[in-house]
Subunit: 423 residues, 2 copies
């Protein structure tokens, strides 16, 4: 069972938006046992849309299109698909009434543009969109399926979950795909590959290993296609247990795990809490924790101490230390961590202070220099790292490293060797 | 002049990473006057890579591939391209020495995997990668160009900026593309379209208007192809000035402008500062401000007051009001905004308190209910909005609305009508 995804819109091609829809759809279809052959993005013009759809239908059983269904003139997906499938646009009364009701609730005029949303190709199945005005459309030809969905992410996601997947399960029978991904932190790809070479070479032939690298977070995915699902899943678990022995404390979790979700689960299990004192990371650590549902169980709050005044006033950092050592220093980082712990009543305080860039570096403390500290009931400790020259990357890396410091402490990791990152 | 982008990697197809590379490349090529015909993502297997490359070269003059150049076994882009172009892999001494030096600096073993990075197809031009071990490769055939780049974003970006674009300028002559994008905030697409219909209908025929919608931020792009660049640019500016009169205070800026960058520029111009007190947005407002280079000019810091204790201890919120009205209430929001202003010495305080979800809602205060407040030297004011059921969206919308409240105040926007969002 093979699928393709087509995302439609000039804004994707010229990079004004990042196409997150196709990643989300790819993940859902893959989890349902459907292989994704290709993702294509094309412009809001009839010819490229027709060409991409025709090519996709010639390769694959399922084609999911998103985008180009808005009420305005530049959206032509519906007209193009109608022509391609030899259908006429007709008014769908259910959609018409739903758009009318939706505009009434929002005190929006039910104007000609909105009324146009109720026009659908006469041979398709309408998939009602309860979050917006553009309905989804389900086309069938020669046993293959093409689905056209709005590009607004939450409308698309609701339609996929509530309408498209159930219909696909009904319409097709799927092969089994089993996969699981281990998330590692702190080893660069080549070092990781060398360290686990023996493990990799001893994998059974039916398991496929993929490295999914990002800046410092390498994910290792084991996949098995068309095999006994239960047996493959058990073997994957066994292999990952062996991997964990080969790189102790480097696997932070599986699947969707992140450093902050791993720390959150550890804290929840211990009935402990954390707070963050952030200078160079500017609220990103707090944001990463609080993006998780249920974060209030273990996240107490934080202080974004961007100016030195705030470091002294809210975190009790010693003004003499600030003057003598500078804001980017071990004493300031450790006092920030201890200070936010005290101010919020959290079990642990995490702190960052550094030079995110692009300016502000000195020969002694170049852009990318960051001190990270953790303060707990028994001890306060800190490390210094020098990252790179990119502001956004420095913010992410400092956040990750600081959160990882606490993770290592909570896991009981020994000594100092694991605290630094090999990248 | 037409280009296609091919991103290679199973991790893209199954949605484990979002393909941000193609958006970035699309933006750069478009700005350079190159139209993007299509973006394609394919798996790390020889056949789909060959097929996508062959198709792209048949349509377009320029093909940019990223990904699949890592040192590990599952990366096969280089081998596939060599076969496609009928070339052999040979060791490139300059790359070999550079990888050796790079591994030495990082204290990484110069192992067989890393040494393999120095093998390149013998008929391509090597584009040295000073940020990583995989070089870029430039192939030419029948006057067309194919470039293969590593998938790690900052390596790819450096190669595009320093090597690929200068070579493309040398190799091709480009047509002129002029475009500019106005960023609007606070009007849904259909309302915006209706409000500006007269303006849209009066546009000169050679200007193309596109709506680029996201949740509450609609971008309007005017483009002109193959015309006198200077004249088109002046006409676009004139048209956007007319648009601004049609929807006063709704255009927050142009190009890359965001609510926080607009507020930052307004504050910088006035010599004023801001701080944030965040409950439900959990540090996201601080993160959005501090992601901007130079934010320390106007951003003083903030308090993430996730627990009620932190609201009283660090922000001086009245414990009786917290008990009587609840954390999600007008008095608490306004006391948080005033409190963070006082605690940090900022000119303005922004505050949010609400129920991000997915749990915690009540009949009176459903999930998505958020109070947002701004406190300044002369006044403190607040609004209540009820967003939706998605946690991440509620966090983003509450952050945007709160920042926009301050923007409207700084722009001198009248009354209350503009404060609510019509979505």
């Amino acid at each position: 069972m093979q699928a393709e995804i087509i995302t439609i819109g000039d804004e994707i091609l010229i990079g004004q938006i990042v196409d997150t829809n196709s990643a989300w759809i790819g993940e859902k279809l893959n989890a349902a046992g459907i292989k994704i052959h290709r993702i294509t993005s094309v412009s809001d013009r009839a010819e490229p849309i027709s060409e991409a759809v025709t090519q996709a239908l010639s390769h694959s059983d399922i084609v999911i299109c998103t985008g180009g269904l808005g009420p305005t003139k530049d959206d032509i997906t519906k007209h193009t698909l109608a022509r391609l499938f030899g259908m006429k646009l007709v008014r769908n009364e259910a959609v018409y009434e739903q758009v009318r009701a939706m505009t009434a609730v929002r005190h929006i005029d039910f104007n000609e543009l909105n009324q146009g949303q109720a026009l659908v190709p006469d041979g398709c199945t309408v998939l009602p969109n309860r979050c917006g005005t553009a309905p989804g459309m389900w086309f069938e030809r020669d046993g293959k399926v093409l689905v056209s969905l709005p590009g607004v992410p939450f409308e698309m996601k609701t339609l996929i979950g509530e309408q498209v997947l159930p219909r696909l399960y009904e319409h097709f029978r799927f092969d089994a795909i089993v996969h699981k991904t281990a998330i590692t932190y702190g080893l660069a790809e080549s070092i990781l590959a060398e360290t686990i070479a023996d493990w990799e070479n001893a994998l059974p032939a039916y398991l496929h290993l993929a490295y999914l690298p990002s800046a410092m977070n390498i994910r290792l995915r084991l996949s098995a296609y068309d095999v006994d699902g239960q047996q493959a899943a058990a073997e994957i678990d066994r292999q990952f247990a062996l991997l964990d022995q080969a790189i102790p404390y480097r696997i932070i979790g599986y699947g969707d795990a992140t450093l902050e979700s791993a720390v959150g689960e550890l804290l929840r299990g211990r009935g402990e809490t954390v707070a963050a004192a952030e200078s160079c990371t500017g609220g990103n650590i707090a944001h990463r924790f609080t993006a998780l549902p249920g974060a209030s169980d273990y996240f107490r709050g934080g202080v974004v101490a961007y100016s030195n005044d705030v470091k002294t006033a809210l975190l009790g950092v010693n003004a003499d230390d600030l003057n003598r050592c500078g804001a980017v220093s071990r004493p300031v980082a450790e006092q920030m961590a201890a200070g936010v712990r005290k101010a919020t009543g959290a079990t642990y305080g995490i702190a960052t202070t550094g030079i995110a860039g692009p300016t502000g570096g000195t020969p002694d403390k170049p852009v990318g220099t960051v001190w990270m500290a953790v303060s707990g009931p028994d001890e306060t400790y800190s490390i210094r790292m020098v990252f790179g020259s990119l502001r956004s990357q420095n913010i992410e890396r400092a956040s990750s490293n600081a959160i990882n410091l606490l993770r290592l402490r909570l896991c009981g990791a020994p000594g100092n060797g694991l605290w630094t990152i090999r990248y």
